[in-house]
Symmetry: C2
Subunit: 382 residues, 2 copies
């Protein structure tokens, strides 16, 4: 294909403008407080729904817009990250990992009920795959769902579930069949279902504004119609879902790096030591040059894979590379940003302090760096 | 010199045992709570004083012990770090940067009054060098102290001062003379002196259990007898003091790395994925091997410089190297430890989560990595 001048067009610019205004009006004035209190108001989902932000990328029939337009989603995600809180973005955006399987594979009645509520921000949606005994080895998950007439009875537990404390709907990975990936299914579980309970809100290094929870299933009965897709074919759905999650995480990491670079540059220009701006010291000057280089390369690589996905091509290897590369450079850039700001970089009043803590999850969540490397190596025939 | 079999002897082992018991009895049962509430009880100073821990390395006449025995101090610091909170160690240990100038250079009447109270843990001591306008360029500090009869009148401010909120005594760097390093002096300021006030407690990425404060001097009058050392010769005292602070920070970093390695190893042996302990995957196995290698090299280098200091040799270059090397490997080891523990490494219930945040200050405080490199390069004739 001919290289496009930009991956973004005018419609994407409109999205950018509207999300940026939303962030400036609804999030930035409160975000420091929400981070310190480790919660943002539920009302924000409704506001983001009303502003059309939650629906970007989803079918119009459910209240969405720009279905299949990958760069519409990229533009929205990038602007949302300008709030400077990975936790807020992860919490407000947990529907983006929980809802796609519903939209794509749930029974029509389920999908037509659930999707519009979630995209309007009236209901909160989570994805529950990881278990206390392990997250990397998805094929080995232990939460059992046994068919009993027109219900499944679920027993087991999940952990580290984003929006787990206050979600209304959960897309839950369960074992309906035998061992390994061929026995895994996805089920929709609703808050309030008898036998389903939510544990404590987990305290974390970062992502403070988002809640993270343990979930417990104790002979929890859900109707068979809540099955998402075909029984025992859930593993492929989970893996397909991971692709767009990994793209999102790469974009989050790149934007985190972008913000870290912007903050560092501002500081390096203004802060004086030994009679000059610290950005004039060669070692910081070159570090800033390298930070900018790493970010540009990472962002272009990520965009390129987004464009391939938009064109319907399979980029399993490359998306894993994009996630690893972006999360890695963002760890380095946020580290450097803290260093450049000196003592102030260590203070919670500095944005870079939060960026450093928030970014540390990105090479763990959605598949660890090691699991990405397993995927890449496998695609290379190893 | 012949290589000693160990840098530590039996007397150091006794110190280790007693500090370890103190940590197990007085700190470990409470440390998670103290970290979350960002404060430890003032009473702990008295307990540590009574247990003889605060006095290690100080003259017996002030209630100290093991004066001049560098490895006694190393042993005590290492064991104290087993509480797993850099903040607690920094807060309880702020006397180690504030008191040495008093003991070495203050007027006898001042020193004989202040030192015993501080070593008994009845009074808290802080060091105040850094200013809002900068910490690296010490020679350029702006807080003014003007002689007025038998008093100095101080005007200016300090920031990022460890134990600044609740200290009773402050060793404060001020400008008594002209520009540059030749105009700097040290003054003892006592809490409650008119014109002296303490600002808010700063919120930080890590070191939560220690308080960090801004200090304000508004025509604050302190008696001339509070001058520490000779007027306008304070810069050399500050630099001499930095040497032992940097050794301490290297030791903190090495112990942080040690704890991170221990936690990682435990996890790697127990945590299962894909049917085996994760420590059996070659990439983690080799990473753990490299973590252990980096730590061993760093610790030996630091010990060697401590031995040189104990022998009275000047190791300006090497102490800066030890600090940079140790803080750097500890940043890497704590990063790796979080990675190895996966999602659990990101939870505040994991020790490695705190180690990662706490360690980030060590390549900034006590002189940044860049300032250490300036010192090293200068010693290399550049
Ligand atoms: C804040 C937060 C939010 C999260 C979240 C986590 C966190 C911390 N999720 C969980 C996340 O996906 C898992 O933590 C991640 O997949 C890793 O699983 P683990 O059980 O923690 O580590 P693990 O026990 O699977 O792995 C431990 C360790 O072993 C390594 N490993 C594992 N296998 C191999 C191998 N074959 N070769 C080499 N090394 C290997 C890993 O890379 C790692 O370093 C998550 N999950 C959800 O389902 N829903 C969510 O909403 C969500 N949100
Ligand atoms: C938690 C905490 C506790 C602390 C603490 C800080 C923190 C965060 N202290 C302050 C600490 O020593 C300073 O932050 C440190 O010296 C750096 O000064 P800055 O003003 O923050 O950075 P800065 O403005 O001096 O430097 C900004 C930036 O520029 C670089 N830089 C500066 N000069 C050069 C150069 N010539 N070449 C290249 N790069 C250069 C630095 O390395 C850094 O990356 C401290 N201070 C006390 O007096 N008492 C304490 O108890 C104590 N405790």
């Amino acid at each position: 294909m001919a290289a496009p001048q930009s991956y973004f067009d005018d419609s994407h610019q409109l999205i950018r403008d509207s999300v940026r205004r939303f962030v400036e009006r609804e999030i930035l004035p409160h975000i420091d407080e929400w981070e310190e209190t480790e919660e943002f108001p539920r009302e924000l989902y409704r506001k983001a729904g009303a502003a059309g932000i939650l629906g970007i990328g989803y079918p119009e029939q459910y209240g969405g817009s720009h279905e299949g337009d990958v760069f519409a989603k990229v533009a929205a995600s990038e602007e949302l990250m300008r709030c400077g809180s990975g936790g807020l973005v992860a919490g407000l955006g947990s529907l983006d990992i929980g809802l796609p399987p519903i939209v794509k594979w749930a029974k029509p009645a389920v999908r037509e009920r659930v999707a519009p509520q979630v995209l309007a921000g009236e209901k909160i949606m989570a994805l529950a795959v990881t278990e206390p005994s392990g997250g990397s080895d998805v094929a080995n998950l232990k939460t059992r769902a046994v068919r009993d007439g027109d219900h499944y009875r679920i027993s087991g537990s999940k952990t580290f579930i984003t929006s787990g404390v206050r979600a209304d709907y959960y897309t839950v990975a369960v074992r309906t069949g035998g061992e390994g990936f061929g026995g895994v299914s996805l089920l929709l579980v609703e808050k309030g279902t008898p036998g389903f309970s939510v544990g404590r809100k987990l305290k974390k290094m970062g992502w403070w504004a988002s809640d993270t929870a343990e979930l417990f299933f104790d002979d929890c009965k859900v109707p068979v119609e809540n099955l998402i897709g075909v029984e025992n074919a859930g593993f492929a759905c989970i893996m397909a879902n991971f692709q767009s999650e990994r793209l999102s995480l790469a974009i989050m990491a790149n934007m985190t790096a972008q913000l870290a670079l912007e903050e560092s540059l501002k500081w390096a220009r203004e802060r004086q030591a030994f009679g000059k701006p610290v950005g004039k010291f060669q070692v910081l000057k070159h570090r800033l040059a390298e930070m900018a280089t790493q970010l540009e390369v990472s962002r272009e690589f990520t965009y390129r894979q987004a464009a391939q996905m938009a064109a319907g091509r399979s980029v399993i290897k490359e998306i894993s590379m994009a996630k690893n590369f972006a999360t890695d450079i963002a760890d380095r850039l946020t580290y450097d940003a803290v260093q450049i700001m000196g003592g102030m970089g260590y203070m919670r009043e500095s944005l870079v302090e939060r960026l450093y803590r928030d970014n540390r999850i990105l090479s763990i969540g959605g598949g660890t760096r090691e699991i990405m490397n397993e995927i890449i190596a496998k695609q290379m025939g190893l």
